[in-house]
Each structure stands twice: as structure tokens, then as C-alpha cells.
């Protein structure tokens, strides 16, 4: 009986932990002036970048993770889908015309990042 109680309590806190760890997180924003590198390794670093409206900004994706999930990056609001060869810099130029938050993801929509236009 004792083991059941222990497993239940541990399991419950395990679930709470999973919820907190994966679903309640806040990534820091990084403000980009002209260009910035985003390292693709188990996600995107930095995950949230801030760019300026009506200004062309270069975002360089450098994939260091061999996970095939990450081999494509999709910025659907900017109609961009790029294959990211391993360890090679892939530059994307965007000139946002409106402000707002625009999410981007890997090709399978598992990993996410965000571009904030101000």
C-alpha cells in the first residue's frame, strides 16, 4: 500500500513538473539590429528575436543538431521554407511591413521560435 501512495505522489508531482518544465516557460527576447545568428540545436537560440518594422534584417540559421526534425525551418508568415544543411549558415532576409508576433517552426512543427516586429 505504501509503495502505491509513494508512486502516486511521485507520479503526480512528476506530471506537475512536466507541465511546468515544458509548458510554462518564458524565453528572453534578443533585439536584432541588422543581423543575428540563430543556433539550431534542440530548438532555436535565441528563441525570440525582436526586429524592426520596414527594415531589412538578416537572420542566419546555423544548424548544429543532426536531428532530422530540425533540418527545415518554416517562417510561414514570411512565406519562407528553408532547408538547413548541418553546420552551414543559411541566411534569411526579411523586411516586415507590419508589427506583431510571428512564430516560426521546424518542418514538422515540433520546435518553435518567435520573431517580434516592433
Amino acid at each position: 500500500m505504501g509503495s502505491k501512495i509513494i508512486v502516486t505522489i511521485l507520479g503526480f508531482w512528476g506530471m506537475v513538473g512536466v507541465f511546468w518544465f515544458f509548458l510554462i516557460k518564458k524565453g528572453g527576447e534578443v533585439v536584432i539590429n541588422d543581423s543575428a545568428d540563430i543556433i539550431v540545436e534542440g530548438g532555436y537560440s535565441p528563441e525570440v528575436v525582436v526586429i524592426s518594422k520596414n527594415k531589412t534584417t538578416k537572420i542566419n540559421f546555423i544548424r548544429k543538431d543532426e536531428n532530422p526534425c530540425l533540418e527545415e525551418v518554416v517562417l510561414s508568415d514570411f512565406k519562407i521554407r528553408k532547408t538547413l544543411p548541418l553546420n552551414r549558415k543559411v541566411t534569411i532576409e526579411i523586411t516586415p511591413r507590419k508589427t506583431g508576433e510571428f512564430g516560426y517552426s521546424c518542418g514538422m512543427n515540433m520546435f518553435h521560435g518567435k520573431i517580434i516586429v516592433r
Binding site: 508512486v7 507541465f19 543538431d65 526534425c69 528553408k82
Partner: protein
């Protein structure tokens, strides 16, 4: 100094030491800044000063250490990536075989009934442990790496589920192997599950292998388009012909194209002629005849003749480059239908982990004995069966195949949203001139009243000379053909939707439709019977008035496009209501519509009212597509739910349109809608499968059927189902390549 980077093949490499020898030899060449040699690809990539380093220098350096450079087979980035991918896939397949062979050997030694036939050595737990080690820590290493780097970002994905699931099975089995007594003491039969961990890894990797193979097919169309881009051009300079790389071609370069040759860039024919196969761009299979002054498109193939032409568009401005850009953009966009899948998949993996924990607790607390084993195996099954990839792949793979298939048939779709919207179209509005008709009207009749026909044509032609209207062009052309010398018009004024007015040879002339005459208070009754009979033939009648007196009629008719009738019929077969919109009067419009089988006509619509008419149809609850060809249509094209630009339309039309048809075949409109409908059907099926799979099989894996039917899902079967699920979604999308549109 000019920094360049190039990759070329190297022959004769066989071991890792070759790499350092060649790299050193290349780096020693003065002007080479860096050199990287890839043994697997048998290539060298060199960063060098292209002004001071010749091919010969590089070749000499490499041959000096016993290898050979092959410049002729230079490898472009894309090919290099393709080869890398192939090597990766081959390695993946090897890993699949190794893990499945080891897994089956372990299974043979552990599976009840089967194990009686197994050699004693396979029944030994420690041997099973040793057999599973390479699978868990070498073959599955990428899963661990991906999990660790994802955890650093507080993200979880497929790899996390597989890592947790197989690690749990492996850790428990290792504990059983080395401490069987402890397990026995708590009332559980000591049996390891190395077969589960190894076979799961093998099957998941097998799924990934098939998925990667299938996925490469989804971008086949754009790769084919990219492959159309020629690499060299034969230019004529100073009486000599030389081959240069495509990047060196400039606007105005004179290019020679020989029979069977590929046309390098867009341009205009200067000399000679030929027939050109444009099917790769327009989807039209019949070659197009080209003569002096005609435009040619880069990437198309010259058939029999030979010609020279002047380059008018190069680089990213060529039609092919623009098509590639448009397809790439469409494939990078997101369909609105994907939104739900997006939301679900962003929470999916953490929720599955929580469900696996809940499964463990429930089985441990309420399950039959040995409860721990039931809890362990069922929670592993939950982790393994969950397939977030299928949801992520369901929509984009179909969009990629659909837009690619469209491009191959000369149908360019702006984005995924347009592709999605097009399947809802139930009304199509055609602009008559230039869309249903060729757009080059000709003068068919001239009727004079109290004056000579030639004089009527002369006065009308002189007046229309300054006009940009397509009917004016027809009249001026007719005067040239009849060698009529035109006079200068003064006080010329174009009256939108009515006609023109001005002074010619001292006469105050008005030339236009009935409305114009009515506005001027001129009675057209004497001509009415004649006008009506001409209009009933589908001709446009323009009335010339000299002051307040009728002077004559100029009759113009436009030829219907050869595919117009078939195009309209094809749309009606799809259940779409066809509407014709035109500035012509009702009688002329009716005559044309009758020839095409169109029932609904919007006649006498001024150019700036077309947009309003489209909005009116939308207000009636219809989902409207507008088909137009150019500048006048731009606002209407933009207002419609789907704007379709026909033919080689102007840039303005392409900008404001959602679908651009490169060919002039009106049947392509029905094809575009069929493509949209079929793509949407594929997406729905994919999403239904992806959601249904997870919604049904996750509860089954957790053991929901056990209380009713005593059914449990072995984690090995869970991994087989998982491996199949995303492959089937991608394969279903690939089926779109075969649909007839």
C-alpha cells in the same frame, strides 16, 4: 583580390589520411585561404583568391600528392546536399538492419515458445544485455543527443518520447540482469526486456528511413524547376561564338541557340526562328513557333531551328527564376486548415509524457500483478505509440506536392491559403476581353451614312490614334492595312466607358457607344436594326457622329480563344457557375456568351465597376474567383476570393492574383480548382488519420481495452504502428502527384 569558394570532385581517395594530405597540399598553394576535403563525398571545398588562382594551380597541387581533380564534374551545393542525404540514408538503413537483427536474436532467446528453439547462449541475460548495448548507446545515440539539446530549451519532441521509453525498458532490463534476486523478492519473475528496447529503436529508425525517402519526393517539383536552369550560354561577340557561364550573361548579350539546345535566359529573337518546347514552364505539350521579334523563355528547349536572340531578363528576373521563387514561397506558407494541428502539436509531447506517467500510476495502483511490469510496459507503449510527426507533416507535405504539381502544369499558386480557398469556389467571373477572347479585336465592317466608308474609317482612325483602348488599336491597324493616311486629331478626350471625342479636319467628332450618342442627344434609330443584327453576331459596334449628325459605324470583333468553350464546360462539370463580365452592350455580350454556353452575363460594366460586381456576388453569399488578364482587372482580381491571372499576364495582374496560369489554356482554370479540391481532400484525410491515430491508439496503448477484452498493446507493436503512421501521411500526400487535373 576576389574571394571565391568552390567545390570539386577528387578521384583516388580511399582513407582518412588522404583527407589531410590533400587539404595540406591545397592550403600550401599561395592564394588558397582554406581547404576542406570530404572523404564520404570525395570532394574538396576551397576558399581562394579567384583572381590569382587558376584551375591548373589547384589541379597541380592535388595531382602532386597523387590524386586527381575533376573540374568538369563540379558539385553544386544542391547536388552535394543530395549526395550527403543519400549517404545519411544508407547509414540509417545499416543501423536499422543491425538493430533489427540484434533485436530479433534477443527476441528469439526470450519469447515464450520461440525460446525453446534458441541456442542456450541467446537465453543468457548477460548476452542479451551485451547484444542490446550497441543499439541503445550507439545506434540510438542521436535520440539521446536530440533529447538533451531539446531539454536545454525546455522542449520535448519525438526523440524525447523514444529516449524515455527505450531507456526505461533498457534500465529495468539491466537491473533484472544484474540483480535478479531483488526483483524475485518483490514477487516479479526476473525477465529482461532488451528485445523491446532494441526492436523499438530499429522500427522507429526504419520508419524514419521511409519517411525521409518519401519526404524527398514532396519537393521533387521545385527541384525539377531548379534543374531546368541552364548553366552556360553560347554568346556571339565580335563575330565569334563562345560558351560562358550563365552568371556572365548580361542584358543585351546576343545568344545563339542551336537545335536541341536549352534557351539560357529570357529574350527576344533577333535572327532565325524555330519551334520551342515550353512544356516545362507552361505545361502545354505542343511546341510553340518562334520567329523574329518573338520572346523566348529561359529553361525551355529549342527543337529544330537555330536562332540568335538578345537577352532581356537575366538572373532572378527571368520567368523561370520568378516561377521558382513563387513556388518556393507557396511551399513556405501555411494553410489556415493547419492551425488546429499547430496548436495540438505544440502541447502534444508534454501531454503524452503526462499521460504515460498517469498510465504508470493507474496500472501500479489498480492493475493486476505484477502491477509494476504492467505499469512499466503500458507507459512505455504510450510513449512510443504517440506520433506528433504525423500531425506536423499532414498539411505541409500535401501543400508542397500540390503546389509543385500545379507549377508543372503551368498553374502557379501564390500561397497555401489560396490553394485552400480555391476549393470553395462556386462562381467564376470571366473578364471577356483578353480572357475568353484573344484580346486582339479586328475591324470586320465599316458602314458609312451619307459618306464614303473609307472616310468613316479615316475619321475614326485619326480620332483613335491617341487612344490606348484595344478597340482603337484594331481601328488604327485597319487603316494601316488599307493605306489610309490619318489626320491629326485636336482636343482629343477619352470618355471612360463611352468612347472618345475630338476634332479632325475641322470636324467635331464623337466616336463610341450608344450611351455616348444618347448623352449627346443624337438619335441612333436610323441605324438601330443594322446595329442590332451586328451585335447579335457578337460584334462590337462603334458609332461615329459628326457634330450632332450620325456619320457611320465601325464594327469590331474579337476572336474567341480556342479553348474558351471547353474551359467553360469543364468548370460547369465541376458544378461552378460561370459569369461573363464585359463593357460590351448586352446584345453583343449575349451573342458571345451563347457561343460559349455561359448563361449569366454582366454587360455594359465600366472597368472601375468590375470590382463592385465581384463584391455584389460575394454579398449574395457566393465564393467568387475572378479571371482576368491585366491592369484593368487588378482591383477586381484583388477583391475576389481568388484572383486568377491568365496567360503570360502583366506583372500587375500576377501581383494581385492568387493563382497565375502561365499557359493560355482556359481548361487550366478547372485544373487549378480540381488540384485545390484534391489537395484539400488529401490534407483532410491526412489530418483525420494523424489525429485519429493518436486519439485512438494512445488510449489503447495505455490499456483502456484491458478491463473489457483483456487486450494490451505490446510496445513493439506500438513502435511498428508509430513507424508506419508518419510514412503513411507522407505517402498519401505523394499520391497527389498521380492525380489527373
Amino acid at each position: 583580390m576576389e574571394n571565391s569558394k568552390r567545390t570539386f570532385s577528387i578521384k583516388g581517395m580511399h582513407c582518412a589520411s588522404c583527407v589531410s594530405v590533400i587539404e595540406r597540399a591545397l592550403k600550401e598553394v599561395e592564394g588558397v585561404f582554406d581547404a576542406k576535403v570530404n572523404l564520404a563525398l570525395e570532394t574538396a571545398t576551397v576558399l581562394y583568391d579567384s583572381k590569382n588562382i587558376s584551375d591548373e594551380k589547384l589541379s597541380k597541387a592535388v595531382s602532386g600528392v597523387g590524386y586527381e581533380v575533376i573540374f568538369g564534374k563540379e558539385i553544386e551545393n544542391q547536388d552535394e546536399e543530395k549526395r550527403k542525404k543519400e549517404i545519411e540514408l544508407r547509414q540509417l538503413l545499416h543501423k536499422v538492419f543491425i538493430s533489427l537483427i540484434l533485436g530479433v536474436l534477443i527476441l528469439w532467446g526470450t519469447f515464450p515458445g520461440l525460446m525453446d528453439t534458441a541456442p542456450e547462449i541467446l537465453k543468457n541475460f548477460k548476452i542479451q544485455f551485451l547484444l542490446s548495448l550497441p543499439v541503445q548507446f550507439w545506434i540510438a545515440l542521436p535520440f539521446y543527443r536530440a533529447t538533451i539539446s531539446a531539454l536545454r530549451h525546455r522542449t520535448a519532441n519525438m526523440d524525447t518520447l523514444i529516449t524515455v521509453g527505450t531507456s526505461a525498458a533498457f534500465s529495468y532490463s539491466t537491473f533484472v540482469t544484474f540483480f535478479p534476486k531483488i526483483i524475485e523478492n518483490i514477487g516479479i519473475e526476473p525477465r529482461p526486456y532488451f528485445d523491446v528496447s532494441t526492436i523499438i529503436i530499429g522500427l522507429i529508425l526504419l520508419g524514419r528511413y521511409f519517411e525521409a525517402k518519401a519526404k524527398s519526393g514532396t519537393s521533387e517539383a521545385i527541384k525539377k524547376l531548379i534543374g531546368l536552369q541552364p548553366k552556360t550560354a553560347r554568346i556571339v561577340k565580335g563575330g565569334k561564338e563562345i560558351d560562358i557561364s550563365i552568371e556572365e550573361v548580361t542584358i543585351g548579350s546576343v545568344i545563339r541557340v542551336r537545335p536541341g539546345g536549352k534557351i539560357p535566359v529570357d529574350g527576344k529573337i533577333l535572327e532565325g526562328g524555330s519551334s520551342v518546347d515550353e512544356s516545362m514552364i507552361t505545361g502545354e505539350s505542343i511546341p510553340v513557333d518562334k520567329a523574329l521579334g518573338d520572346t523566348v523563355v529561359g529553361g525551355t528547349i529549342n527543337k529544330t531551328g537555330t536562332f540568335t536572340y538578345s537577352a532581356t531578363k537575366i538572373g532572378k528576373d527571368t520567368m523561370l527564376a520568378q516561377i521558382i521563387q513563387m513556388v518556393a514561397e507557396a511551399q513556405g506558407s501555411k494553410a489556415p486548415i493547419q492551425r488546429l494541428a499547430d496548436i495540438v502539436s505544440s502541447y502534444f509531447v508534454p501531454i503524452v509524457i503526462m499521460l504515460a506517467i498517469a498510465t504508470f500510476i493507474i496500472w501500479f495502483d489498480f492493475g493486476p500483478q505484477p502491477a509494476f511490469l504492467f505499469a512499466l510496459l503500458n507507459s512505455i507503449a504510450v510513449l512510443i505509440i504517440a506520433c506528433p510527426c504525423a500531425m506536423g507533416l499532414a498539411t505541409p507535405t500535401a501543400i508542397m506536392v500540390g503546389t509543385g504539381k500545379g507549377a508543372q502544369s503551368g498553374i502557379l499558386i501564390k500561397d497555401a491559403e489560396s490553394l485552400e480557398k480555391a476549393h470553395k469556389i462556386n462562381t467564376i467571373v470571366f473578364d471577356k476581353t483578353g480572357t475568353l477572347t484573344i484580346g486582339k479585336p479586328e475591324v470586320t465592317d465599316v458602314i458609312g451614312l451619307e459618306r464614303d466608308e473609307k472616310e468613316v474609317l479615316k475619321l475614326a482612325g485619326s480620332l483613335e490614334k491617341g487612344s490606348e483602348h484595344s478597340l482603337a488599336e484594331a481601328i488604327v491597324t485597319s487603316t494601316i492595312e488599307q493605306r489610309i493616311v490619318l489626320s491629326k486629331a485636336k482636343k482629343f478626350k477619352a470618355l471612360v466607358g463611352l468612347g472618345v471625342e475630338g476634332e479632325v479636319l475641322g470636324k467635331k467628332l464623337s466616336f463610341g457607344n450608344r450611351k455616348l450618342m444618347a448623352n449627346l442627344g443624337i438619335d441612333t434609330n436610323p441605324f438601330e436594326a443594322k446595329i442590332a443584327s451586328l451585335e447579335n453576331e457578337g460584334k462590337t459596334v462603334m458609332i461615329l457622329a459628326d457634330g450632332k449628325r450620325l456619320a457611320g459605324l465601325v464594327v469590331v470583333a474579337d476572336t474567341l480563344k480556342p479553348t474558351a468553350k471547353e474551359g467553360v464546360e469543364a468548370l460547369e462539370r465541376l458544378g461552378i457557375k460561370v459569369v461573363m463580365i464585359t463593357g460590351d452592350n448586352l446584345r453583343t455580350a449575349k451573342a458571345i456568351a451563347q457561343k460559349l454556353g455561359i448563361e449569366k452575363i454582366l454587360a455594359e460594366i465600366l472597368p472601375d465597376q468590375k470590382e463592385k460586381e465581384v463584391r455584389r456576388l460575394q454579398f449574395e453569399g457566393k465564393t467568387v474567383a475572378m479571371v482576368g488578364d491585366g491592369i484593368n482587372d487588378a482591383p477586381a482580381l484583388a477583391a475576389a476570393d481568388i484572383g486568377i491571372a491568365m496567360g503570360t499576364g502583366t506583372d500587375v495582374a500576377i501581383e494581385s492574383s492568387d493563382i497565375t496560369l502561365i499557359n493560355k489554356d482556359l481548361k487550366s482554370i478547372a485544373s487549378a480548382i480540381t488540384l485545390s479540391r484534391k489537395t484539400m481532400r488529401t490534407i483532410r484525410l491526412n489530418l483525420f488519420w494523424a489525429f485519429g491515430y493518436n486519439a485512438i491508439l494512445i488510449p489503447v496503448a495505455s490499456g483502456i481495452l484491458y478491463p473489457f477484452f483483456g487486450l494490451l498493446l505490446n510496445p513493439i507493436f506500438a513502435s511498428a504502428a508509430m513507424a508506419l503512421s508518419s510514412v503513411s501521411v507522407v505517402s498519401n500526400s505523394l499520391l497527389l502527384r498521380r492525380v489527373k487535373i
